[in-house]
Amino acid sequence: MAIENTGKKLVLLLAVAVPLLLPLLVSNNYYLHVINLAGIYTLIAIGLNLLSGYTGQVSMGQAGFFALGTYVAGLLAINLGIPFWAASLAAIAACALCGAAIAIPAMRLSGPYLVLATVGFGEIIRLILLNWTPVTRGAAGLTAIPLPKFFGWQCSSEAQFYYLIFSFVLLGTYVAYRLAHSKVGRTFAAIREDELAAEAMGVRVNRYKSAAFVLSAIYAGMAGALYGAFSGVASPDNFTFDDSVAFLCMSVIGGSRTIVGALIGSFMLTGMSEALRALQTYRLILYGGILIFTVIYMPQGLAGLAATVRARLRRTAGRSAAASTGGEGKA
């Protein structure tokens, strides 16, 4: 028992220390860049998990919210010189509004209809960004998005961005975790399992379904604001249908019914996508193959797989413990 406790403490210590000290351990800026990108995608994936994994509303248009967040925050910062925190708040507000708006048709839909409606939403946003040239600068996109500044301290290096993104991921994970393990999370799951039954139990289904949409939009919007400041440039090409699909894959591959799954999925897929870069044309063939393999053989994603393995280990451990006590009893 004591050993197990120490082990747990050690794991917890590592879980806190490694992310905190990561920029010191990883001296390569390229790796840090990929980690930062994965952190931004984690936020989107957490939102998607709340929306799709918990509430059962599949969205293939998250790139739309992500784009909106990037453009609102980016344009405010470029054109009006608004500081990062205020621009982020504006981006979040815009995304929340948009999420509430798309929830109106979405709450009547499910299955392929909902999927297509969200695809449509993502494409509409992208096409507006592409064609509304006087405001969005068209295909050229945004350039020279200012770096975030806090009380005179400017965030510019990969390591500094790492801490900025890391704090948002931490905050986002915490909020989502608390939400998922509260009455709200259980209501989301009830709606996913049986909407009619939930309604019969007095759950205001539509309200919760819209809330899930707004939440996922807020997460994607914050990710967008960070992305714009982090990369400095953004164009409509960064927010295509393929990106929406990639976000959904992160959520499902990681395990959409847990919060930690979002973290696993985004780091897995972002890392894999970078690691396979050397294969060039064959990269995406392999990537697609891995997607297919994962959804067939790990239906609950990597987080689900970890839970199954842990349960199996515990069962074997329990059995051997029972066997040893049984042996003692006989002796």
Partner: protein, 289 residues
Amino acid sequence: MQYLLNGLPIGAIYALVALSYSLIYTASGVLNWSQGDMVMLGAYLGFAFFHFLHFGFTLALLGAMLLVGAIGILVQLCILRPLRKRQAPPINVVIATLGVAIVTRNLALAIWGPEAQIFPSPVSSAPLAIGALSVTRQDLLIVAVAILLMIVLHYLLRKTRKGKALRAVAQDRYAAVLMGVDTEKSDALAFAASAALGAAAGILVAPVFFVTFNMGAGIGLKGFVAAVIGGLGNIPAAIAGGFFLGIVESVAGGQISSGYRDAITFALLILVLWLRPSGLFLRKVRQRV
């Protein structure tokens, strides 16, 4: 009026693709995102038959349909069947078919390269004039072949034993099993027929657009939109949705703005989904979700 007419051939293409989505969805309840890439494969294989083997147009069309149909069966066998066996959630099925699309598209890129291939039209390029309107012979060919294929499909589904089995599974999967229908076989048939329809759409559209590895993405999405606007799960509704979408696009692109054409299409889609989730051309509201 000219815009209306221009919308017909692309509408016929969308109708074929919409039909392929609708057929799979009705028969097996699967939303198959690789449908657009079957269109692309059809165009490439048709191109290969036409260019390297010097097949005639009809032979190239049939050959491509047959081969892509076989690929459809392969997808059902290797991907859908294991997913069904594990009772995977629908979202996993969607991602698996997206995976198929990614693999197919990039395989085509690896094999044929990024350049667009030019597929010569089997008919002369001189346009025909009907009064004040003009149409190209290729457009006429597209519409004619598409309608012919729809009639053939209709006949197969209504009159043949396998077609009837497929419709029975579509109506009530469980009851069909009890009646001794092999649902796996009917799923395979649906996948084959859908892929073949997509391939036909690919060959027909190839002389109008160029043949590229990612041509399937746009056509596939539009075909799906057409199927839903018309009414998913109903064959005449999918066809009507296809022609409707083709005409709307042509008019919106010509009269309003070419840049916003697709945005208008998607806005229309969301509006239809909001007001009439069962589609424009389906009277009965059937819960199939």
